[in-house]
């Protein structure tokens, strides 16, 4: 089944991102993880979120991260490798979080929640995609968070450009 292929791909490349010491390998395995999560979004009937994931994460954030790697390390010396610290404690904490979350998820019996059983799952209504619904929601119920998000993006753009400017040369 397609979901398990995507899930295995996401987990394997995420684990490789953590295990490898080379920064560029970590960046490209994060790319594979983000792509498989976009595929899982498509399988969950969230086509607009999947395209947004592709455009924002794969096309934007990952390119930013790769530029960050190239600009913040000299490729010829060892700084393209990142050292690991706190390996034992980190593995312990992450493993405990994983065990606790999995225990709670398996114990909670989520599928028998009443509001999950009431809903019809794989019917999107008359339209085949969620784009129209999301557009209507963004302009009616969620218009205030939408405007605040635009303001936040403007502030982040100006702030990032101001911070990254080299003041000595200008």
């Amino acid at each position: 089944m397609l979901f398990y292929i995507f899930a295995a791909l996401a987990i394997v490349s995420g684990a490789y991102m953590v295990l490898t010491r080379n920064l560029l390998y970590a960046g490209f395995s994060l790319l594979i993880t983000l792509l498989s999560i976009a595929g899982i979004y498509v399988l969950l009937f969230a086509d607009f979120i999947a395209v947004t994931q592709l455009m924002v994460y794969v096309g934007g954030v990952l390119v930013l991260i790769l530029f960050g790697i190239m600009l913040s390390s000299r490729v010829h010396d060892k700084s393209v490798l990142s050292e690991n610290v706190n390996t034992v404690w980190g593995t312990l904490v992450a493993g405990l979080i994983l065990v606790g979350l999995s225990y709670n998820i398996l114990k909670a019996n989520i599928s028998s929640l009443p509001w999950l059983q009431m809903t019809v799952v794989d019917v999107l209504g008359d339209q085949k995609s969620t784009v129209q619904m999301i557009g209507i929601k963004l302009m009616t119920d969620f218009v205030l968070p939408f405007e605040i998000a635009s303001l936040l993006l403007l502030i982040a753009l100006m702030g990032a450009a101001y911070i990254a400017t080299n003041k000595q040369k200008v």
């Binding site: 994060l30 999560i37 899982i40 969230a46 690991n84 979080i97 994983l98 799952v121």
Partner: protein, 103 residues
């Protein structure tokens, strides 16, 4: 089409979340720590979208995850700008070597 069980999606999200935590704790290069944070964001988004499948008329989960993606993009831009400035100042991006506030 066969239904994907909700527990499996939540378990995948839990695995990705703990991998992100592991990256944040064990890595000492600032950019890799940012990658771990992005992985944590994606794990949270996966949960939101998974539950939004059961909410086809309101779709609050998908809209919430849309705003999470927006905030994550803004965070990544500002954080990478800060990393670049720190690298220009200290000539390193190792978080253990820049643990000082004075210049």
């Amino acid at each position: 089409m066969e239904q994907i069980p909700l527990e499996h999606i939540l378990l995948l999200s839990a695995v990705l979340f703990s991998l992100g935590i592991l990256a944040v704790i064990t890595k000492r290069h600032a950019v890799v720590v940012l990658m771990g944070i992005e992985l944590i964001f994606n794990a949270a988004n996966l949960n939101l979208v998974a539950f939004s499948r059961h909410d086809p008329t309101l779709m609050q989960g998908q809209l919430f995850s849309l705003f999470v993606i927006v905030v994550a993009a803004a965070e990544a831009a500002v954080a990478l700008a800060i990393v670049l400035r720190v690298y220009q100042h200290f000539r390193t991006a190792n978080l253990n070597e820049i643990a000082t506030i004075e210049n």
